[in-house]
C-alpha cells in the first residue's frame, strides 16, 4: 500500500534515496504517476514552502528537499508524459545578462517543478534575445528573471522591451526577483509581478493561472 505520508516526509527531510525508493514502490503498485505527484511530491513541497515562510526552513533545507523531490520526479516524468499529463504551467527562467549568480534562480526553478510546473532553465548570464527566442520556441506562461546586482538588473528592462518589440509581451507574463529588485522596479520596467522569494514566486504563478 502506497504510503504517501512517508513519501512526503522523506521529501521534507531531503532523503533522496528514500524518496526514489518510495516513488518506485508506488509506481510498482500501479499507482498513477499523476496521483504520486499530487499526493506525495507536491504536498511535500507545499509544506517545505510553508516552513520557509515561517523561518523554520532556510535555503539549505529548501535546496536539499527540492533535490529529494527531483529524485522522485525523475522517475515520474516519463510516465506523466506517456499518460499525456500536462504541467500546471510552463516557465522560462534565467539569471540576466552579465550576472552569474544562480542560486535564487535555481531555487525558484526547483520550487516551480515541485509545484507541478514545467521549467525551461536558460542558466545564468542570459541575454535578452535568448529569453525572446525561448518565448518564441516554447510558448511559456511565464518568463522569470533573476539578478543579484544593481548593475545587471537593468537587463530585465531590456528583456521586457525586446519582448515588446518582438510582439510577444502580451503572450507571456514576466516575473522578476533578486536582492536589488523591488516591487517598484518591477512596475517601472513593465513586468507583471515581483517576488521576494521562491515560495512567493510559485504561489503567485499558481494564482495567476488559477491552478
Amino acid at each position: 500500500m502506497t504510503d504517501y505520508a512517508a513519501l512526503k516526509q522523506a521529501v521534507i527531510d531531503g532523503k533522496v534515496a528514500q524518496v526514489k525508493q518510495l516513488t518506485q514502490a508506488a509506481i510498482d503498485e500501479g499507482r498513477p504517476a499523476q496521483e504520486v505527484l499530487d499526493q506525495g511530491l507536491i504536498p511535500a513541497m507545499d509544506t517545505v514552502g510553508e516552513k520557509f515562510s515561517c523561518h523554520e526552513f532556510y535555503i539549505p533545507e529548501m535546496l536539499i528537499a527540492a533535490r529529494a523531490m527531483q529524485g522522485g520526479l525523475g522517475l515520474l516524468k516519463p510516465l506523466l508524459a506517456a499518460a499525456g499529463g500536462k504541467p500546471r504551467g510552463k516557465v522560462v527562467i534565467g539569471t540576466v545578462r552579465g550576472d552569474l549568480h544562480d542560486i535564487g534562480k535555481n531555487l525558484v526553478g526547483m520550487m516551480l517543478q515541485g509545484g507541478g510546473f514545467e521549467v525551461i532553465d536558460l542558466g545564468a548570464d542570459v541575454k535578452p534575445e535568448k529569453f525572446v527566442e525561448a518565448v518564441k520556441t516554447s510558448s511559456p506562461d511565464f518568463v522569470m528573471m533573476s539578478a543579484l546586482l544593481t548593475t545587471t538588473m537593468l537587463a530585465m528592462k531590456e528583456t521586457v522591451e525586446q519582448l515588446k518589440s518582438a510582439g510577444l509581451r502580451g503572450k507571456v507574463r514576466v516575473a522578476v526577483g533578486g536582492a536589488p529588485v523591488t516591487q517598484r522596479f518591477c512596475e517601472e520596467i513593465g513586468a507583471d509581478f515581483y517576488s521576494a522569494n521562491a515560495t512567493g514566486a510559485v504561489t503567485k504563478a499558481k494564482e495567476l493561472l488559477h491552478v
Partner: protein, 376 residues
C-alpha cells in the same frame, strides 16, 4: 577644529564621540566606470579617486592594506589562461584540484567578489586534496608594507585589513559553491567535518598569531554571512565557535574585528553580536534586503559598530529623489545619538549610481550629523 576622517574612525572604534558622523563612501567601481566610459563629470576630470572623494567630502575606505602574504609549500599552482577563463591548478602529491574564473568584461567584475566558475571541491576525493593544501598553506607577515600603507592613507581614513573568511563560509562560497555545498554536507559528512577541523586548526596555529601580532588595529575577517545562506542554526554550529575564539584573541591585543555585511542579516543579528564582532562593515539595509537600520541598532546598540546604512540601490536613477531624501533623514533618526556608527554605502557606489546623491549625503551629514545626533 574639525576632526580628520582618521580621527573620527578611531574615535568610533574606541567607542568615543567624534565631532560628527564619519562618512566614507566607496567610489572605486563608479570611478573606474567613468574612466572607462569617458563620462567623468567635468569637475572631476584629470583627478585621482582620492581627489574626487575629497571633493565629494567623503573619505578613503582604505581597504587595500595587507599584513601577510600567502605561501604554499609542497605543491604547485599552475595558472592557465584561455579565452574568457582563468584556471588555477593546484597540483599536490595527493591529487589536484582546479579553480576556474570568468574573465569576460561583462562579468569580469564579479571575480573581485570571489565568484569562481569552477570550484575546487566537486567530488568526495577532492576533500583530501584541499586538506593537503590547507596543511601546506603559510602566512608570511609583511608588516612594513602595512605600515607604509597606513602612512599613505594618512588622515583620509583608517585601514581595515582583509584577512580572509572562516573555514565554513570559505567552503560554501569558494571551495564547493553554495548550491552543491549543502548537498555535500549531506553526502560527504565525514569529509566535510574533517576538512572544517583541519582548516580551523591550521588557521589558529599559523594565521591568527600573524594577525594578532600585526600593527593593524582593524581586522576584516568573514564575508557575506546571510540569514538564508548561513541560517542561524548553521551559524551557531560552524561560525560562532571560530569567531568567539578569534575575537577574544584580537580583543586581548586591543584590536577590533569586523566582517563584510553586504547581505541580509535579519535573522542573524543576535548571532553576530554573540560571536564577538565589533563591526558590521558595508552593512546593507532595506529596501535592498529585509533588515532595517532600526532593527540592527536595537539588536546591537553600541556593541557592534555599523559601517554602512546607505544601500546602493537608493543612489540609482530608478529610486525616486523624494524617497532618497526620506530614507536619508530616517538614517539620522535611527542612529541618534550617533554612537557606534560610520555612514557608508553598501557595498559600493555603483557605476550607475547618481554621484549627485553622494554629494547630497555629504550635505546632510554636515547638516544633521554633528554629535550628538538628534532625532528629527
Amino acid at each position: 577644529m574639525a576632526m580628520t576622517n582618521r580621527q573620527r574612525l578611531l574615535a568610533i572604534l574606541e567607542r568615543k564621540s567624534p565631532d560628527r558622523v564619519p562618512w566614507i563612501a566607496r567610489l572605486p567601481l563608479w570611478y573606474d566606470a567613468r574612466v572607462k566610459d569617458g563620462q567623468m563629470p567635468a569637475r572631476f576630470q584629470g583627478k585621482g579617486i582620492l581627489e574626487v572623494a575629497r571633493e565629494l567630502r567623503t573619505g578613503d575606505p582604505a581597504r587595500d592594506g595587507r599584513i601577510f602574504k600567502v605561501r604554499y609549500e609542497g605543491l604547485e599552482v599552475r595558472t592557465e589562461r584561455e579565452p574568457g577563463v582563468l584556471r588555477e591548478r593546484f597540483v599536490t602529491p595527493v591529487g589536484e584540484v582546479t579553480i576556474g574564473r570568468v574573465l569576460s568584461d561583462e562579468v569580469g567584475r564579479q571575480i573581485d567578489q570571489g565568484l569562481p566558475l569552477i570550484h575546487p571541491i566537486r567530488r568526495g576525493e577532492d576533500y583530501k586534496v584541499w586538506e593537503y593544501i590547507a596543511e601546506h598553506t603559510h602566512y608570511d607577515p609583511c608588516y612594513d608594507e602595512y605600515r607604509q600603507y597606513e602612512a599613505a592613507v594618512g588622515d583620509e581614513g583608517y585601514p581595515m585589513v582583509s584577512c580572509g573568511d572562516c573555514p565554513f563560509h570559505h567552503y560554501l562560497l569558494h571551495l564547493v559553491g553554495y548550491n552543491d555545498a549543502y548537498y555535500h554536507m549531506v553526502d560527504y559528512p565525514e569529509e566535510f567535518e574533517r576538512l572544517m577541523a583541519v582548516m580551523a586548526a591550521v588557521e589558529k596555529e599559523r594565521l591568527w598569531p600573524v594577525i594578532a601580532n600585526s600593527p593593524a588595529r582593524l581586522i576584516l575577517h568573514g564575508v557575506h554571512f546571510d540569514s538564508q545562506m548561513t541560517p542561524p542554526h548553521m551559524f551557531r554550529k560552524y561560525i560562532t565557535p571560530y569567531y568567539t575564539e578569534l575575537s577574544a584573541l584580537l580583543h586581548s591585543r586591543g584590536k577590533s574585528l569586523a566582517w563584510h555585511a553586504d547581505d541580509d542579516t535579519k535573522d542573524l543579528l543576535a548571532e553576530i553580536k554573540e560571536a564577538g564582532f565589533d563591526m558590521s562593515e558595508c552593512f546593507t539595509t532595506a529596501p535592498m534586503v529585509s533588515v532595517t537600520l532600526e532593527e540592527a541598532r536595537a539588536a546591537w546598540g553600541r556593541d557592534v559598530i555599523i559601517w554602512g546604512g546607505v544601500p546602493s540601490i537608493i543612489l540609482e536613477p530608478t529610486f525616486p529623489a523624494d524617497e532618497f531624501e526620506a530614507y536619508m533623514r530616517g538614517v539620522f533618526r535611527a542612529i541618534a545619538p550617533g554612537d557606534a556608527f560610520i555612514l557608508g554605502v553598501a557595498d559600493n557606489v555603483m557605476p550607475t549610481s547618481l554621484i549627485e546623491r553622494v554629494e547630497r549625503i555629504s550635505e546632510l551629514v554636515e547638516q544633521y550629523g554633528t554629535y550628538p545626533v538628534r532625532p528629527r
